[in-house]
Amino acid sequence: MTKTDSPTSSAKAELARLVAPVAGRLRLAGLLAAVSELLWAAQAALVALAVGGLLEAPVLLPIWEASAGFLALMALRTGLDAAAQGLASRAATRLVATERQALLRAAARLDARASGLTPAELAALAGEKLALLGPFAARYSPAMMRSRIVPLALIAITLPFSWIAVLIFLIALPLIPIFMALIGIAAQEASERQMVQIGSLNGALVDRIAAVTDLRLIGAETRAGAELANVFERLRARTMKVLAVAFLSSTVLELFSALGVALVAIYVGFNLLGEIPWGSWGGPLSPEAGIFLLMIAPTVFQPMRDLSAAWHDRASALAVATELSAAKETLAREGTLLGYGTPATPPAPAVLSWQGLSLRPAPSAAAIRFAEGQIAPGEAVALSGPSGAGKTTLLAALAGLIRPDAGVIRWGETALDDESADALRAAMGWLPQAPQFIAAPLAEAITLGRDGDLAAALKAAQAEDVIAALPEGLATPLGDIGGGVSGGEARRLMLARAHHARASLILADEPTADLDAETAQAVIAGLMALRAKGAALLIASHDPTVIAACDRVITLEPGGHP
């Protein structure tokens, strides 16, 4: 997905679609910048008239008037440029922020079983990758506009003075994109061949840092360092090969524009000397016309040079556009969880029941049909069955975290749907199989912003000594993989979260998996303590001790309910 293949038409179309909301502002910015660039011709005319006046009477424009005019036009152009740049950059940041917000909103409500976009991929996309759209919009788009207007307009201005100068421009200008395309293709191929290795300049370092303890333990610290230097050296040599080709393309551009300017200068000089009397209309050029042509010649090439400087921005933006559209497609395909995840008032305890449920465990998996079932308030029910029978899937569906293909789930008389989901979930506690914590101080990771008695919850879950062993107690930041607590400790903290939520139904997924007997016993005791306070329990497990501790068992049949 991240492969930067040659820009396909679909990537171009996707990028155009992304930029469409700000395209008007970008066009205006390009137009302003083009006008500013064309005003240089007026400045050039003033200078040409003034210098011409120095050479030969009559003085058409006194030097101080020309200077004042030149400076005034400069100020006007500066204003136009600043306005263009402001427009383009504001449009660019808006574009990036809008796409980021849309992406995060969609990802936040993604169906719980979705697997097409990993959290790390989302973070990279929402972070540094979408940022690459900014330079494309702010720099490439206006440069594109200018390169369509400015060279042609300046050539039109040149034509009344000299057809030779026009000829020079017309030959040099189209050659630039042709040669650049040729060299650009070579560079693209070279960089694609090396992409894997170049990307791993950081990858090699990250790999070594992630393994730093292992390398120390096998006494290979020094050797790993020396070996890293060799890896870097190989990467440098390869990168330079790619850069050599890439720089060649910009050198070709500079060469042609420099030659174009030099040829115009030499032609004008020789014409003024009378060495080349042809090429201008009706006699040699006037000194003013010569100086004017010399001054506008570099500007004919400038938009092309800016465009080529921004070429790389376009390539990255195309890659990002492709990836973003794939991510959006994934998000749309995998659907959303029910409700919006807002705080709500929980309904009174009631029977949770389900009928005719049909659920897919993964977006592409076949649907499993479930026999109807129910849990009464205060009841402890074990959910067992072989792996693959849909235990986790059923729990997630009951919490409104995945959307059933068919069937209905009810809390008393209320059906679980987008409107009721937030309120019904407010009555539920959730213990996932793999405990995770948000990257926040522990206290916040447990309360998740809800009010309640945290100390009592920790006590009830026997999690006080977990807190006591942490360096900063409740202020300890957890995150990533709950760094600093073991699996059993994390489970007890999850129990504390369930106690704190004062839920009337607890949904727990394999709460004793991978735990030693003693810790497992403590977790079961914690669950029973929740029940003692009146909560109903639904525990997916094949641990006999858990099943023994429950009032009854719902056994899921392998392959689903017939």
Binding site: S200, V206, R216, L273, E275, A468, E472, R497
Partner: protein
């Protein structure tokens, strides 16, 4: 600022000649650019004057026109050389910098290293190093090149046009340039740092939101957490807009400054030409050179906008590079006859600030050839005990004696030869199996394939690898390409290759089926009959393989 200078020194001192070559070429390129415009202006004006005066035949047009062509071609070629040289130097220097960061991280205490290994910390670190790649290219080299070019232009204008032109142009560029660039750097500092911080916040919030969305939805906190992520996006947008605004103003100010310099040159040169002190062609030189000098400041401006980002990065990177050397004794302790292979006395570890000890007090001994199983509930400090025994973390109290000598008296290399620990989650490197294993062998035996296969046989991995590409089987970053159980056994084989007198294994059989688990443990024992082995396990079946069992409790 100090940190940036220190990093610039660090980067440049290793590749000084390469940077000097790059600098010389970038000065040449800028000077040629100014000379090209100046010469063209002079040539056209002088040709016009000669044409008007009817002395066109006598005008030497060959040398100036050849000069124009030479400067045009030379400038493009010089630009190519300058880019190649300075990028090559930068790449070399950044490789050194990455090497220095790696070396610094290896010297850090174990606990700090553990924090740096998280995905986000690593992401932050590479973002910091990447931020510094513009330091030489967009800040240091353009600064010196701008100064040199302005100085050269001053001398040229003084003699070719008028001293007043030279003074006016230099004064406008120097004063304007310094004022504008300083102001840019100062005002852009805070928003540049803020933009970088918000970008990291967006990343962290995205990870948090997506990983925990089920928990957050049940807690009714999903919308609140989403709003937090969106706020980070808005903060980044605001910081970026402020940066763009500064960029816009500084660009406008620099354009005006160059316009002012060109106007001054036109006015002063024009008046001098009117007064007959210089020719109109000489006046044209002043104007065109003044215009061309704008190039000296534009590159620098872009670099200065990144200053804030670079500075924060430099401070953090420098802190890692400057990690003090790890203290380790020079000489190995004298062997003591009759001492136990490993002995602990009343060993206790307590995390800083924690109210309760991680484990201890523990006292036990280990003899050669003995297998000791450590069990205990989750959270009892079993992994912490192994890390303490391996010398990764210091005990709070008590003693560890290795062959009768305190652990802290052993130099790092001798200690590693004496004992090896395979942690619960061990990391592999991208590369071939052979490359991964070679790191554990002494350099002179790094290609001893027979020994590698022996170790792989012992952990029952030989069959799997024979079916693939043997020792040349390629692993991705962090060992991708093997299953969890296979990666674990490869780490065990890597440790066993060292044939340490003491081998410590943290949950070596986790994630393995019963037969493989049993085979791996007995295979290791057979490969290392003399080694004292300590291992941690939850599995009851593993207890049969141990000579003794030490149970620790919370």
């Amino acid at each position: 600022m100090k940190a940036l200078l220190a990093v610039a020194r660090l980067i440049s001192e290793t590749e000084r000649m390469a940077f000097v070559r790059g600098l010389v070429l970038s000065i040449v390129v800028m000077v040629m650019g100014a000379a090209l415009l100046g010469l063209s202006g002079w040539f056209v004006t002088a040709a016009a004057a000669a044409g008007i005066g009817g002395i066109g035949i006598a005008f030497d047009f060959f040398r100036p026109s050849a000069g124009v062509r030479f400067l045009a071609l030379g400038r493009a070629a010089g630009r190519y050389g300058e880019r190649m040289l300075s990028h090559d130097a930068t790449l070399r220097a950044l490789a050194r910098l990455r090497g220095a960061v790696h070396a610094g991280i290896t010297r850090l205490p174990h606990e700090v290293q553990a924090r740096l290994r998280g995905a986000e910390a690593l992401n932050r670190l590479t973002a910091d190093i990447d931020a510094l790649d513009g330091l030489m290219l967009r800040l240091v080299l353009p600064f010196f090149a701008a100064c040199a070019t302005q100085a050269a232009a001053f001398v040229a204008l003084w003699f070719l046009v008028t001293p007043a032109t030279a003074v006016a142009v230099l004064a406008i560029y120097a004063l304007g340039g310094i004022a504008i660039l300083t102001l840019t750097a100062l005002t852009a500092h805070a928003p540049a740092a803020a933009a970088e911080t918000s970008l990291q916040a967006i990343r962290a919030a995205s990870l948090d939101l997506m990983r925990n969305r089920a928990d957050l939805a049940v807690a009714g906190a999903l919308e609140r957490q989403t709003d937090g992520a969106l706020a980070a996006v808005r903060a980044e947008e605001a910081a970026r807009q402020r940066l763009d605004m500064i960029d816009q103003w500084s660009g406008a100010a620099l354009a005006l400054a160059s316009g002012l310099a060109a106007t001054a040159a036109l006015l002063i040169g024009g008046r001098a030409a009117e007064a007959g002190q210089i020719s109109p062609a000489e006046a044209a030189i002043g104007f065109f050179v003044a215009l061309a000098l704008a190039e000296t400041l534009t590159t620098l401006r872009r670099g200065l906008a990144e200053w804030g980002r670079m500075q924060g990065a430099a401070t953090r990177v420098l802190a890692l590079v400057d990690t003090p050397a790890r203290r380790t004794p020079k000489a190995a302790p004298a062997p003591r006859a009759g001492a136990a292979l490993l002995e602990t006395r009343a060993l206790v570890h307590c995390r800083a600030g924690a109210a309760r000890a991680s484990f201890g007090p523990l006292s036990f001994t280990l003899a050669p050839g003995e297998t000791l199983l450590i069990t205990g509930p989750s959270g009892a400090g079993k992994s912490t005990l192994l890390s303490t025994l391996a010398g990764l973390i210091a005990p709070s109290s008590g003693e560890i004696l290795l062959s009768g000598a305190p652990l802290e008296d052993w130099p790092e290399d001798r200690l590693r030869a004496k004992l090896t620990l395979v942690p619960q989650r061990s990391a592999l490197l991208s590369g071939t199996i052979a490359e991964n294993l070679a790191l554990a062998l002494p350099p002179e035996r790094a290609e001893d394939e027979e020994r590698m296969w022996q170790a792989l046989e012992a952990v029952h991995l030989a069959g799997v690898l024979h079916a693939r590409e043997g020792l040349q089987t390629l692993l991705g970053p962090q060992g991708v390409g093997l299953s969890g159980g296979q990666a674990k056994r490869l780490a065990l084989a890597r440790a066993a290759l060292r044939r340490p007198p003491i081998l410590m294994l943290d949950e070596p059989t986790e994630g393995l089926d019963a037969a493989t688990a049993h085979g791996t443990l007995t295979g290791l024992r057979k490969l290392l009959p003399e080694a004292g082995i300590i291992f941690v396990s939850h599995r009851h079946a593993d207890a049969a393989l141990a000579d003794r069992c030490l149970t620790i409790s919370v």
